[in-house]
């Protein structure tokens, strides 16, 4: 399939069609990344941009890089991002309010200038040059060509990169390691603290989510015996996101129940 994609990408016309369909989508997704409110949506849009870039790599005779892009970026890096998003809490700082006044417009104006400069420079760098193409360089296959370069000309950077990877892994472990400063509260101590807290109301622990009989989803607060919803039965994250349903609509209607019994 990759060979087919390569053959398709090498001819001029299909590559142009591919580019003019995917490039606007990539730019739209990148702009959407800045506009959407939730960080999770930004992550999904970034994953799309990365997949698009992988397709462009494969279209440009860089099959190995295309695959690595999908495996490393959309696979490992984006999963790491989503993992940290879930760890830190999806509700954290989603606001788009600007703290420095007028920063947004300054940034957009400056970026238009910067982008124009970049595009004009790149245009000058490639003006009147025809693309050589990688047919000769990839004569023995893309992976073989890359391997030959990595283990000859680039063997020293390759070793340095491996040292960097190990350092990064150790650094992340050191940073994420959490030394416990107070003793862990055991289940037995928690239970004793509940009973000694003055009121016996908390002695049984927190109520679980869901309403008796009709609905027991995690976003529906449990009903207390007097019919009021128990807010403590909902996870704090769901409460912060506002994903809490009104449990009164799922309340068991006594009259209906009696009729069914007859």
């Amino acid at each position: 399939m990759i060979n087919y994609a390569l053959a398709l990408g090498q001819t001029a016309k299909p590559e142009a069609v591919l580019f003019y369909i995917l490039a606007p989508l990539a730019v739209a997704a990148a702009i959407g990344m800045l506009v959407v409110k939730k960080a999770v949506h930004s992550a999904i849009l970034l994953a799309w941009v990365m997949v698009t870039l992988a397709i462009f790599y494969i279209a440009q005779d860089a099959a190995f890089l295309g695959i690595v892009q999908i495996v490393v970026y959309t696979g490992a890096v984006m999963m790491l991002f989503l993992f940290i998003l879930m760890l830190v809490g999806v509700d954290s700082s989603e606001s788009l309010t600007e703290t420095i006044k007028g920063l947004r417009w300054i940034a957009i104006t400056a970026s238009v200038g910067f982008g124009g400069l970049l595009i004009s420079l790149l245009g000058r760098a490639t003006l009147g040059r025809t693309s050589v193409g990688l047919v000769d360089a990839n004569a023995n296959g893309n992976v073989e060509g890359l391997a030959q370069l990595i283990f000859s000309n680039y063997v020293w950077p390759f070793e340095v990169i491996s040292a960097l990877l190990i350092t990064a892994a150790v650094g992340a472990m050191v940073l994420a390691h959490h030394e416990r400063t107070v003793k862990r509260v055991t289940q037995r101590e928690q239970s004793q603290a509940r009973f000694r807290s003055g009121s016996l109301a908390a002695a049984a622990g927190l109520p679980g989510p869901g309403v008796f009989a009709l609905h027991n989803a995690v976003d529906v607060p449990a009903l207390l015996p007097d019919g009021t919803p128990a807010a403590a039965s909902i996870s704090a994250t769901l409460k912060a996101r506002g994903d809490m349903l009104d449990s009164a609509q799922y309340q068991l209607d006594n009259n209906d129940n009696v009729e069914e019994d007859k």
């Binding site: 990148a30 440009q60 700082s93 595009i119």
Partner: protein, 99 residues
């Protein structure tokens, strides 16, 4: 098709990423915008590798990917550490040096 189109696309993506770094406040989104800029640079490397007809650009792009992976690992660890002490992932809340 002219290969320079890929360069223009990468310049656009790089600029969009730079804007995102400046205007977004969530540290994780800022980080994702940095990733977008790195990806755009990679596209430039791959395109120039094709224009010049040798694989060196692809090697550099490959090294960039490895460095980006390291950067993500350490950066996210820093974000988690800051979140632990300040209960916030917003770049505006990390202002201890100011006070």
């Amino acid at each position: 098709m002219n290969s320079a189109n890929y360069l223009y696309l990468s310049a656009l993506l790089f600029t969009i990423g730079a804007v995102g770094v400046v205007i977004r406040r969530n540290a994780i989104v800022v980080f994702m915008c940095v990733e977008l800029m790195l990806n755009a640079a990679n596209l430039t490397f791959v395109t120039f590798s094709r224009i010049n007809g040798n694989l060196d650009g692809q090697i550099v792009a490959f090294f960039t990917m490895v460095v980006a992976a390291c950067e993500v690992v350490v950066g996210l660890a820093i974000i988690v550490t800051i979140y632990r002490s300040r209960r916030s992932a917003s770049v505006d809340d990390a202002n201890l040096l100011k006070r």
